[in-house]
Structures are given as structure tokens and as C-alpha cells.
Amino acid sequence: MNTEPKSLYDPIVLEATTGRDDSDASTTVPVLEAGALSKSFGATHALVDGTLTVPAGHVVALLGENGSGKSTLVKILSGVLRPDSGTVLVEGAVAKLKTPQNALRAGIVTVFQEILVAPHRTVLQNLWLGNGPARETRKLDCERRKRASAVLETLASEDIRLDDTVERLDLMQQQVCVIARAMLREPRLLILDESTSTLDITRRDALFASLKARCADGMAALFISHRMDEVLAVADGFVALRSGSVVGTRSRGNADAADLIRLISGEVATRDAAGHTATSRTVSDRIVVQARAAVLRPGSGAFDLSVRAGDIVGLAGLEGHGQDEFLRALAGLHRLAGGELLAAGQGDLAPVSNYRRSVACGVVYVPRDRKVEGMADVLPILDNYGVPTLPHDAVFGLVRSGHTRRRFRRDAGTVNFTPGKQQSMGRLSGGNQQKVIIARWLAAQPGLILLNDPTRGVDLKTKHELYDLFRNLAAGGAAVVMLSSEVDELVHLMDRVLVFHDGSVATDLPHDEVTSQALVAAYFGQRTADGLQGTR
């Protein structure tokens, strides 16, 4: 499992493992050679002897759970952090990466996880932000437009208008802009750090095709994603990190998902991803969600459906096809354009009126964007857990913090989160933050749990813990309705998947029929349901 540490220092081994074309790799200088990079923050060793080689023409995937050192490595390569020791060679020459400008000049362009745009500027201005002279001449402008359009076209995003301000674009389009900006810099090494998370399948495939085309011209890329399907689809070589150290490398030929997961998690026996436990659950006949001729937006089709307690129901579709509105409508955060929507938490089915009442009835909602809607990262974990349910702990209006702590320990146990010494929410990993947010709502004793893409940006191990948690919640009699943009998740976790197309439920797939092909077909409206069954 673990490659012998010594072999990591042997460049021949590395090139052999990442090499797609051996003769090519041995004759040309790799685009990037990072040797023995180390970085510590106080007592924490974020990266120890990070060694990495990326040959020209290759896409190397950097794999690891949150906190494994990926981000630290990427930040060092982008000049954001300075390593305590180690060297970086770009095309054989020592690169001094003291500032992000240094890295850009060396040809290393990074697309970060956060979508960094200037929201009030136009798409064109954003695409050329910090690239070339700021003064605009007509000739330059014309040239820029031409190249920007060309790049957007390769990313299957011709629909983005160069003169729109970026704030008017949706999240996915903004992400495309950020990637296009990096492409326009003509990088020698392009680093994509979790920058595919909001892309739909069309845009993602276009990005991968574009990566391959550029790599054929001698570019190299470092690719980071928590989605195994993406990684396997695009990478030529794999480098796995765990606890700050490189623990193994694989090449395209000798890697498969199970092997890589083992490498990343360090567990000898990993859970079978397909470990589906629906059969062990008793699904009751209690209906917890019912839509009657529901219309999500003016002009979209009406649909009926119902969901029973004990089910895990997936909501899927291309970005912006109505699944998000449906989930938010269930939570009382989106008003239907027509029809009726009923939900039941602990009690009987009742029309959804507003968010506050929904929560009071045991219908809880975990939002998509943790940082924006889910939590306050500057406040203590205990506040982030307790604020909605603090009256439980109050006597004559005074909160007894011991009570809150006791409740938190109980609910944290349920979500498999171990409270450490860390007090501030912002310093937890993404997965642990998500656990705290879910624990917050477990305290409200929910009967219907609405999850908006809860595993986005969460590392693999935590993802599986969350899956187990969702299964347990469903087994305990709650209904789980979960929006997911990840095919694996939909295929393996869900008892049933509702695929949205054009603002309405187009396909209702029972577990046995959920395959990636069926999903993709449904995403594009290939199979329209003429008679949707309420229950399976």
C-alpha cells in the first residue's frame, strides 16, 4: 500500500509511475519538479518532504483527504505560502516562488477552490484581470474579445456574454470564468484545485477535453478533486497524500478507484462504495412529502410526487433545472409558482408555509454553501451548533452552557464528530463543519431532513461517514431528501432519484434503475416520464 519512502526520492520511479509515454518523459525536462517541500504551522506539520514531478503533457491528480497537505502544496506552488524547506524546479530551472506574481511569471497558474471574481466588472474584464496592460486600446480590446470568446467556446460556455457583469452569472458560469481566466494566461502548469465542483457534466467534459488538447501541446496540469469519477477520467498519473506526506503514486494503467481510495484513506479494508443498505430498512407507509400539481417557476411543468418516511431520495439534474428550487421550496425558502406542496416532520402532512414553521414541525434544511449560509466561522463551534435550539437550555431566560455542551456531545456522537480542543468553527475541516451543521439540526429532532449537496468539498472518509449517518437517520424513521451533483452518490446511496429537467421532475428512478448512464440520459431529458408514480 505505502510506497517505500525511499523510492519517493528517486525521480526515475516517479517518472515511470506517472509517465504515459516513457520515451518522451525520459528525454524532456518535466514541467514541474518539486523536491522535499516542507511546511509547518506551529506544531502542525502540514507538509513533510512533499515531492512531486509533473512531466509535460500530463495531467497529474493530487489525491488526499482534507488536511492531507494538498492545499498546502498547492499554495506553495502558487506562491501563496513559502515552504520551510525544499526546492521547486520549473522546466529544470529553480523557481523562486515568494509571491503569487513569481508563480505566474514562472508559468504556474492556479484556479483556487474559491470562486475569485470581481462581481461588478464585466466578464471580459474579469477574464483579463491582472493579465496584460490595464489601459484599453481598441486593438487590444478586439484581440482580447476574440481570444476570450475562443476560450469560452472550448469550455462549452458560449452562452456567457462578455459584456455582462459577473454578478449576473450563476455560480457555475462564474466558475467557468475563473477557469477561462487561467487558460488565457497560457500556463506551463495549470493547477485546478477543486475548481470543478460546480460544473455540470457538459462543462466538465469540455474542460477535460480542453485540458487534453492543451497537454498535447506541452502544458502540464495538476488536478485536485474529491470526485473519483472525475479524477479517473482525466488524470494520467496519481499522487496520494496522507497527513502531509506523499504515500504513493500510480499511473493511469495501474490505478483503480478502490486502490486509490485505499491509498488515500490508509485503511486496509475500505467500505465497499456500493454498500447499499436499503434492503435492511423497513420503509413505512407514512407520506412525508407530497407535491400536487406543483409548479416551481412560471412556465415550467407541473408535477406530482410523494416521498415516504425511511427513504433516502436524491434530487439530481443539470445545474439550474429546478432541483435546488424544489428543495428550498420544501424548506419554506422558495415560493411555488403554482400547485401545492405538503410536508410532514414529526406530525401530519401540512402545507409548507414558511421556513420558521417548517423547522418547528421538524423539517430541517442544510444549505449548500457552508461559508455563506451554513455557519459563522468566527464564532465558537458551540454557537454554531446551539443558536437555534438554545431555549432548550435556558432557565428563566439564562442559558446554562453546561447543558448546551452536554447536548452537543450527544449530537456530535451521532454524527461521528469528536469535539477537540479547537473552539473556532472556521478552523475545522470542511467535513467536520458539515457534521456540526447537521448536528445542529439533529437537536431539533427532525422528521424530514433536506440536504443541499452536503458532501461538496468534503473528503472521502468523511463522505462515507456522512453516508452512514444518512442511512442511520433514514433507518430511524426520518426521510432524507438530498440534492446531489455527484453521480456515484446518486447511484449508491439513494433509494430513489428524482431527476429534474426544465424546472420539473422529468424522471423518477427507483434504486435498481439508477445507473450513471440512466442519470446522464435523464439529465438531458432523454426519458420523460409520462406517468410519474407517487411511490415506488
Partner: protein, 328 residues
């Protein structure tokens, strides 16, 4: 092992430095500097006088702290202080009992503060604009009412209440100082220990997340603005005892000073971080500093410039420490 422990100690020290002792150390440093520079600076009589002056600023700053915690800023405080001052002097001058005066001041504060809070939270108008406007309305109304003249007189009980020479029972400071400290500690306690208190922090730290955590933006914001305006009015009332008559411009210096107290105390202007005790320390630091500048007989202009520079320096210092704390 010991290495790790020392690391932990250093880390705890750093984060604690950003969260309290730094403010205390600043106050002590300013006090020591004052003792060295001005003869008689640390004499009991001088300290008692400084405490009285600090208490006026401090009570108003407690209100400003609440508004800043929910991510706002209250620019109507000077007008409210002026209003409280003029109302008190007028009503006392026409022989009204103290209970009536108190109720009138609190009622005006509640009215103005509630309007501030509702406009800011329901119509989503930036608090900066709302409070600037209501402050202007209140200031204008007072001006019309009093014809910009010094008028009325202070209620009799108020003069010993705010006199540096008097003492509150066994405590050798003016009762107004005790009132200030009690309000500040009480406020801090309620902020920490009540549901609404935690909601104030959540709302200031992340509005959208707070909404999904069932925090009512309207109620919480309005409460903070209302308390701020009431405390502003109360400051004006108490100032009558110090000034002896009503003058609508009495609150003018307090705009800069209340915000400065909050910031020097280490409460974040972005909202969600800070507290009342910090602002008490902030107000004390500012008054000690002003006393030094006056003692060095700097001109009013020079005082202002030095005070501004010191605030920039102090906040830069706290800001840096907080970032170090975040990084580890």
C-alpha cells in the same frame, strides 16, 4: 512533549492576547505613561475625575457596542445625547419630577432607536445612512425647540450623582461610574448567557446563516438600536449633572469617541466579535490618553491628530495579533 506544551502555551497566550489582555495592557501602558508625563496624574482625585468623564463616554459606548456587534454603526448617538441633555434640563427647569424626566428620555430613545432598527432591518437601508438621517432629524428638532440656547437646569440629585468628589456608598467613586460598570458587566453577562445575546453575535457574524438558524433579523437589530439610543439619551441625562444646563451640541464629540472606544476595545466593526467589557477598557484608555494630551497642553487640533494616530496604531496592533491567532 514539553516542546508541544510550550507551543500550546504560546498559542493560548497569543489568542488570549487578541481577546482581552492586550486591551488591558494598553490601558496600563497609557496609565503608566501618564503617571510619568503629568505630575499628579495618578492622584486619587485625578483618577476619580477621569472615571467620571469616562463613564459618560462609556455608557454611550455600550450602546454603540451592541449596534456594532450586529454589524451596524449608530451615528445618531450624538443627537440622542444632545436630546437627552436638553430634555432633562428643560423638564427639570419647569419643575418636573425626576421620574417623568427619566421616562421622557427613555421614551424618546426607544422611539428613535426603534425607527433606526426597523428601517435598517426591514428596508435594508445601511445603518450608516439611517442613523445619520434620524440623527439629523432629532438634532434639528432639538434646535427648533431650544433656539440653540443654553437652557434649563440640572435636577438637584444629579449633581452629586456625577460629581468626581462624591462617592457611591463605600465605593470611593461617583455613583455614575458604578452605574456604568454595572450596566457594562450586566450587558456582557446577558450577551453571553441569553439566547438573544448569542443571536446578536450570530447575526453580526453571518446574516444569512443567522436567518437559517431562526434568528429574527428585525427583532434583534431593532433591539440593539433601541438600547443604543436609550443609552445615548441616558448619557445626555447624566451629562446635565455635569454641565448644569441643556445644550444640544453637548453630544458632538461622542460620535468619534464612542466608535473609537469600541474599536480600541477590540470589537470588530465587521460585527459578531467583541463585547461590553472591551468597550469599558476602550473608553478608559481613550480618556486617559486625552487627559495626557490636555496635560501636555496640546492645542485642540493637535489633540485630535494625536488621538487619531494612536487609534490607527492601536487597531493595527490588535488586527495583527488576531491574524496570527487565526493562522495557527
Amino acid at each position: 512533549m514539553t516542546d508541544r506544551r510550550s507551543e500550546t502555551v504560546v498559542r493560548a497566550l497569543r489568542s488570549n492576547l487578541a481577546g482581552g489582555p492586550a486591551q488591558l495592557l494598553t490601558l496600563i501602558a497609557v496609565f503608566v505613561a501618564g503617571t510619568g508625563a503629568i505630575p499628579g496624574f495618578s492622584e486619587p482625585s485625578s483618577v476619580r475625575a477621569m472615571l467620571v468623564i469616562a463613564s459618560f463616554l462609556g455608557i454611550a459606548a455600550l450602546g454603540q457596542t451592541l449596534v456594532v456587534l450586529v454589524g451596524g454603526i449608530d451615528l445618531s448617538l450624538p443627537a440622542m445625547i444632545g436630546a437627552g441633555n436638553v430634555i432633562t434640563a428643560h423638564l427639570a427647569g419647569s419643575g418636573q419630577p425626576s421620574g417623568v424626566i427619566f421616562c421622557a428620555v427613555v421614551a424618546v430613545g426607544l422611539l428613535v432607536g426603534t425607527i433606526n432598527g426597523l428601517i435598517a432591518s426591514v428596508w435594508k437601508v445601511p445603518p450608516l445612512v439611517v442613523t445619520l438621517a434620524t440623527g439629523s432629524v432629532v438634532g434639528g428638532a432639538i434646535l427648533i425647540w431650544t433656539n440653540a440656547s443654553l437652557s434649563g437646569r440640572a435636577p438637584d440629585w444629579l449633581i452629586p450623582f456625577t460629581s468626581a468628589a462624591s462617592s457611591a456608598g463605600p465605593v470611593p467613586v461617583a455613583p455614575v461610574v458604578v452605574l456604568w460598570i454595572v450596566l457594562g458587566l450586566g450587558g456582557e453577562f446577558l450577551l453571553r448567557r441569553t439566547h438573544r445575546g448569542r443571536q446578536i453575535y450570530m447575526l453580526g457574524a453571518n446574516r444569512e446563516a443567522a436567518r437559517l438558524m431562526l434568528v429574527s433579523e428585525r427583532t434583534t437589530t431593532t433591539l440593539c438600536f433601541a438600547i443604543s439610543a436609550v443609552l445615548g439619551g441616558l448619557t445626555g441625562l447624566l451629562l446635565t449633572g455635569f454641565t448644569g444646563a441643556g445644550l444640544y451640541t453637548v453630544g458632538d464629540p461622542y460620535l468619534f469617541l464612542t466608535i473609537a472606544s469600541v474599536v480600541v476595545g477590540g470589537t470588530s466593526l465587521l460585527g459578531g466579535r467583541g463585547g461590553m467589557v472591551r468597550s469599558i477598557l476602550g473608553a478608559l484608555t481613550l480618556i486617559a490618553l486625552t487627559t495626557i494630551l490636555v496635560g501636555e497642553s496640546l492645542s485642540a487640533g493637535a489633540q485630535q491628530a494625536v488621538l487619531g494616530a494612536v487609534i490607527v496604531a492601536v487597531t493595527a496592533l490588535y488586527g495583527r495579533e488576531r491574524r496570527v491567532g487565526d493562522r495557527v
